[in-house]
Structure formats: structure tokens, C-alpha cells
């Protein structure tokens, strides 16, 4: 930490619940830390905290975000250092309060303090578009909108993009989560193109529906740190795109190529 350039605050949001905001936040945070960046992940879902569980840090929480805002402790006391990455910290949400415990102004102040200390500040937004959402976008320099290939999730993503734009958070980027190429090929699932056609914003990554994510989430180890499956690769690519690299999207179409060539592809450059 020490004297450095001001960091970048990124809000991960979606409108709809259960599309993978928390998993995405944990993986992108971990991914950036793996690349040598200092990262703070903030759980803005006050009252329904679970980012700590996904990261396996639940048993280390002493103070939380509301304690910091209320002045019960110093910011550095509430930040929990990750088990694996020494440059990765979590600021947990309070579980006993609700969204009104913090105002957008207080969040803005908090995010600005974190930006002084860290290269990246990841804000894990709660579902919905009420105060919790307003809190989570306070001070954000960039927004990642997570959706799944379902009509309802896309509709909510569209609503949230509209709200981000009217809050002057420009150019939100899209993450399509939990896509199943076999279903897309059968015509039973919205395709990347269908979603892009409606939302019309830049795509920053596609994450396939992968058992590895469920397993890693339950273990409290973000999948990106395992590095040997397609979901991990997908999050790694998103991380690198956030850092400004240009990488092609993963080809998820297993039907078009044999299984072997897919494995080869994974092993080598793609």
C-alpha cells in the first residue's frame, strides 16, 4: 500500500438476484490479486452478506462495513486479509443491519478512502434497484453488469443499465454468466447474440455453467485460483480485460469441435 496512484472502483451489479454477482466479485477480486494487484472487495449487500462465505473468510469477521461507517472501528481494522492472496482484502457487510444503515454519501467516502490504498476496489452490489443498489454504485468508476441467459435476468440487466447511465456511470460492461452451449445449440437458451442485441453494451466476458463454480463456492475458494477448468479461464480472461488486455472470447462450442481439440485448446493459448 503506501503512496500510489488512485485505484479504480468497479461495481458488480445485475438487478436480478442469483445471477452470480457475488461469485463474479470474488473471482475478479482474486483474479486481479493473482496478477499482483492490491484489491479490496466490498460486500455492499448489508443484511444478506455472503461474499465472506464464498471467499472462505466467514470465521475471521470482527468488524464490518457498518462499524467503519459508524466510527466503531478504523477501516484497516475491518479489512480482512485473504487466506491465499496477501494483497487481497475483504470488507464484509453487516449481517444484523439493513440497507438503510449506510447512505450513498458515506459509501462514496468509504470508496474514496479505499481507492487511496488499493489498485482496485470491487463493490458487490445487492439485488434490486433500491438504496442498497444506490449505495453500491456510489463512487464507482466502472460497472460490470452480470446476467444469465434468461429473459427475466436480461430484462433486469436492461433496467440496471438504464439506471447506471442516468447516474452517469458510463459504458457498463456485460458479463454473461452460466451459459450452456449445448442448450444454446439446441435453441433452448438465449444466445450471446440475442442478449447483446437487446442490451447493446460491450461484452467483457462469458462464463459457462460449470460444476467447478458450485464446488469452489461451497469450499470458499474462488474458482479462478484453481486454474484448470474453463470457468477459471473465463474469469481469468475477464480479469485481464479489466486490466486493459485484449483477449478473444472463449469458444464454448463443444459440438462444433471434438472434445480433444477443446482440451488441447484449453491446455494451450486459448
Amino acid at each position: 500500500m503506501g503512496e500510489k496512484q488512485k485505484g479504480i472502483a468497479i461495481v458488480v451489479t445485475s438487478g436480478k438476484g442469483g445471477v452470480g454477482k457475488t461469485t463474479t466479485s470474488a473471482n475478479i477480486g482474486t483474479g486481479l490479486a493473482l496478477k499482483g494487484k492490491s484489491v479490496a472487495i466490498v460486500d455492499a449487500d448489508i443484511g444478506l452478506r455472503n461474499l465472506d462465505v464464498v471467499m472462505g473468510l466467514e470465521n475471521r469477521i470482527v468488524y464490518d462495513l457498518v462499524d467503519v461507517v459508524d466510527g466503531n472501528c478504523k477501516l484497516t481494522q475491518a479489512l480482512i486479509r485473504d487466506k491465499r492472496q496477501s494483497e487481497l482484502y475483504l470488507l464484509p457487510a453487516a449481517q444484523t443491519k439493513d440497507k438503510t444503515a449506510v447512505t450513498p454519501e458515506q459509501m462514496l467516502d468509504l470508496v474514496n478512502q479505499l481507492k487511496e490504498k488499493f489498485d482496485y476496489v470491487i463493490m458487490d452490489s445487492p439485488a434490486g434497484i433500491e438504496q442498497g443498489f444506490q449505495n453500491s454504485i456510489a463512487g464507482a468508476d466502472m460497472a460490470l453488469v452480470v446476467t444469465t441467459p434468461e429473459v427475466s435476468a436480461v430484462r433486469d440487466a436492461d433496467r440496471v443499465i438504464g439506471l447506471l447511465e442516468s447516474n452517469e456511470i458510463q459504458n457498463p460492461r456485460l458479463i454473461i454468466n452460466r451459459i450452456r452451449q449445448d442448450m444454446v445449440n439446441r435453441g433452448d437458451m438465449l444466445d450471446k447474440e440475442d442478449i447483446m442485441d437487446i442490451l447493446g453494451i460491450d461484452l467483457i466476458g462469458i462464463v459457462p455453467d460449470d460444476e467447478a463454480i458450485v464446488i469452489s463456492t461451497n469450499k470458499g475458494e474462488p474458482v479462478v485460483s484453481s486454474g484448470d477448468n474453463i470457468a477459471s479461464k473465463a474469469f481469468d480472461n475477464i480479469t485481464r480485460r479489466i486490466m486493459g488486455e485484449e483477449i478473444e472470447l472463449i469458444d464454448l462450442d463443444a459440438n462444433r469441435e471434438g472434445k480433444m481439440s477443446k482440451i488441447l485448446k484449453l491446455l494451450f493459448n486459448k
Binding site: 436492461d158 433496467r159 438504464g162 442485441d197
Partner: protein, 217 residues
Amino acid sequence: MIEERVNFRGENDGVHLIVEGGNFRNILIELDKKLKKGKGFYDGAKLLSIYSEELSILEKIEIAYRLKYKFKFVLDDEELTKMMQEDKKEEKKIVEMPQDIYTRCDTLFIHRTVRSGQVITHEGSIVIIGDVNPGAIIEAKLNIIVLGNFRGSGSAGENDENSIIAAYRLNPTQLKIADKIARAPDEKDTDHNRSSLPEIARIINGKIVIEPYLPNK
């Protein structure tokens, strides 16, 4: 916690609206609160100006129309245009502001995608250079033209059966022209049997009919 305040200042021939703070959502909430409290008091009152340091022109216009349609204020388009121009601060803002939205005569041009939950209301016709997504609502007194995919809901021609709703791709959730309503068929549209021509919805023999647009028609 809300810093936004709205106040009316009366004059002989009408009222001025003074707005403090810049959170548009809160302003609308405060406005509703104020006007619901004094129910009917401002009916027929003439809106002379909206003064605010932070609101954009578009937001002021939205407030003006809200006052007109929801709370029965009197306001005509000319006044509105003049009102916006007279405000010097705003004039500067016109230059600075991204030119995606502007009013000309009685047509409102929107140069962006209208997204779910957003409502565009206008006295005259509305032209949208972009898409209208599902969950968005477009309400025009006259025609609606969309140079993009119209997937939302639209209502045109409040009293005029000759109004049309046209789009480069017309896949609306619901359409209303004058007092006629049509909705999308329940079966999913297979794109194969659709023409790639733009489409126009209009009233023919008392029903809303959607036809491909042929230039010589």
C-alpha cells in the same frame, strides 16, 4: 436524509417552480408529496419557469410534462421552449450536454436506446434513433417512429386515429393507437416468415394492423 426541496412561488399570471438539489428521483418524490398534500390547489395553474442549478434540460422538461399531465398544470410547448432558452445557465448546458436528446417543434428526438423502466412521454411525435427495449414505454400524442427494434410498449395518437407507430423492426409488447389496443401474439415469432422491411402499425377498419412498409404505398 433527502436534500432535495421543491417550492412554488406564485405570481399574478402563474407559478415558478424552484428546485434545490440534483437527485432527480428524490425531486420527483418531493414534488409528488407536495402536490398530493395540497390536492387540487394547483389545478389549472400556469407554469412559468423551473429554476434549478443542477437539473438538466431533459429533466426540467420531464418535470414540466409531469406537472401538466399528472397535476393539471397549464403549459404550452412554446412557453416551454422559451423557458428553457431564457435560462442562461441552461443555454450553456445545451452546448456542453451530449446532443442525444433535443426538442424541435412538436417532435421529440431521442438518440439512444430506451431501456426497461424508462418512460418517454411527449406532446407531439417521438422519433427514437435506437432501440426500445421490453419494459420501456413510449407515449406520444401523435406518431412514434423507431429507427431500431421496437420491443417495448407504445401508445400513439391520443385522439387521432391517423397516427402511426413505425419501426425498423416492430416486435412490441403492446401497442395502442387512439383507443385501440393490440398485443404481441402468444406464440413466439419465428423470424423466418417475417419480411426484413420496416413495419408500420396503423388503424384500418377499426383495428390495429401491422404491415410491412413499402415505399410506393
